[in-house]
């Protein structure tokens, strides 16, 4: 390669790095069973297709025990198109008791194994907080939003000055009350959805583009 060509390539790479708008890396966070993986799967179904999923879902807590990243998801909204990397994270918790899994019918050995893997998953999720450009915080609209997990995730985003979008999930359930979540964290944008039923997804994608685009 001639010297001139090498210089041209170097400059090109430099300007690419300087001006190229890289897709933001967004983490999906929340307590166990809030619907994080259901939302991740819904996003993939809507924008990637081909039956790809982020992971399996279950009514037993801590089904997701490893963070999973899907790069370059292109999302089109009325006003713009955004390119995001999405990280589906294990549910955050301050306690994990294997007896809870036994109550769901798991054996002693299975419960202890799941408990061990769940603790590793939480550690992984906490470590990911340092490498993200923003967070989608998924809350269960039927539960009290004032949990320590929610307070800690929101506090970390505020301290790092990173964008946050709160998703009030499970609005298809009769006892859902997204208004309580809005009242708890009025300083952040909130979208009520049902990731399972696909309710409110257009508003969700618009909010996503606005926050992270």
């Amino acid at each position: 390669m001639s010297v001139i060509k090498r210089v041209k390539v170097s400059f090109s790479k430099f300007f690419d790095k300087l001006f190229k708008k890289k897709g933001a890396c967004i983490g999906i966070y929340g307590p166990p069973n809030a619907g994080k993986t259901t939302l991740s799967n819904r996003i993939l179904r809507d924008w990637v297709g081909n039956e790809e999923t982020m992971g399996s879902v279950s009514h037993i807590a801590h089904e997701t025990r490893h963070a999973k990243r899907r790069n370059s998801i292109s999302i089109e909204t009325k006003h713009n198109t955004i390119n995001l990397d999405i990280v589906d994270t294990p549910g955050l918790a301050t306690k994990i008791d294997f007896h809870d899994f036994m109550e769901e019918g798991m054996s002693d050995a299975e419960s202890k194994k799941r408990s061990k893997e769940a603790t590793e998953g939480v550690i992984e999720a906490v470590k990911w907080l340092e490498d993200l450009d923003g967070v989608i915080l998924v809350m269960d609209s039927t539960e009290n939003p004032y949990t320590q997990v929610n307070v800690t995730v929101i506090g970390n985003m505020e301290a790092r000055n990173l964008p946050l979008l709160i998703v009030a999930n499970k609005v298809d359930l009769p006892e859902a009350d997204p208004g309580v979540i809005k009242e708890a964290f009025p300083q952040h944008p909130l979208v009520p959805i049902s990731a399972l039923e696909g309710v409110g997804m257009d508003s969700f994608y618009e909010a996503l583009a606005k926050q992270f685009g």
């Binding site: 301050t94 505020e158 301290a159």
Partner: protein, 122 residues
Amino acid sequence: MIYMQGIQMDLVSEGKMSQMASTEKVRYIIDEVRKGKILVLEKGLNPMEEAKLIEMTMSIIQPEVFSGIEMQSYPSKEDTSILSKIFKRQGNKRLTVIGPANQLKTLKKDRNLISALVSANK
């Protein structure tokens, strides 16, 4: 002599915590909670320290021995002042209660009230 049985509760001042580095605070909390104490921190931890506490707690969970912690603090107050917006002031730390998960149970929590049950039974 009267013997009392119960749970030890330590009310920890902001002064005591402010003398410690972040890792020391987390270590101190973990050590005290594992002894079965309930800690009430006057000014709590910052969000990064809370995340570090969750991380360290997960690393020491052992079935039948230690199932983790119960931690509750208030959400940060909404600060809409111009100065806050300009200088991106970090969330103000607020009172925090921390204890062993098998002895401290949150009954009710909202923006300005934390109601908890402390049990002597492990």
